[in-house]
Amino acid sequence: MWFSLTICTGSIAILVLVIRTMRAKLDAHLKRLTKEQNAIEEKYLFTKRRNKELKAEIAALQNALTLISHNIHSTASSLEKDAAAEDDTLLISRHMLTKGLLTVEQNENALKKMETLNMDFLGTCLALGYIDLDKARGVVKSLNLHQSPLFAEK
């Protein structure tokens, strides 16, 4: 009787031991799989985050590029405006000299004072009293200077 009881107890102990070993193996396997799962999820999240960062960087760079191109255009257009204004000045000065509205001395003086007074050529001549308003309007009309403030005036 005692012998059979001992065998039963021994076999149950072995059974428990085997089940524990199996459980430990299962846990190790599950742990490895979970680690693999986490690794791939992390990689995905990292790649996604990197993608977002790159997109944001591209947007910032495009903004910077737009600003730079705007600056270039505005510089170019201001240069063009300056050149046009210079052309108008020369045109008006030549016209007034030819028509005898100004003397050479007055012309040179007006050209010099333009920057100081911060006015256009006709305005400077008016301010210096070389010509009157009617003559200025006549010049504007004969040269067809649309951009001049005197062009619209009657």
């Binding site: 009787m1 059979s4 059974l15 199996m22 591209i58 590029l65």
Partner: protein, 75 residues
């Protein structure tokens, strides 16, 4: 040992074997399910990761080109 004792020992042995088989099946099932889930995730996310990596490469090239353009513009 008499006949009854033998019978009892045989019964205990069969019960233990049955328990072991059930445990083994249960564990195998758990592992199979988990492996399947991980493989599916790998496949699904693997494709996305590959696409994202390709896009990232393209975006990096675009960034380089933009930087060059900006440098040229600043000069």
């Amino acid at each position: 040992m008499d006949h009854t004792t033998y019978m009892l020992l045989a019964l205990v042995f069969f019960v233990e074997v049955a328990v072991l088989i059930l445990q083994q099946q249960n564990y195998s099932d758990t592992i199979r399910k988990k492996t399947g889930a991980v493989e599916a995730l790998k496949k699904r996310l693997g494709e996305r990761i590959e696409n994202l990596e390709q896009e990232n490469e393209r975006l990096s090239e675009q960034i380089d080109a933009l930087k060059n353009e900006i440098e040229a513009g600043e000069r």
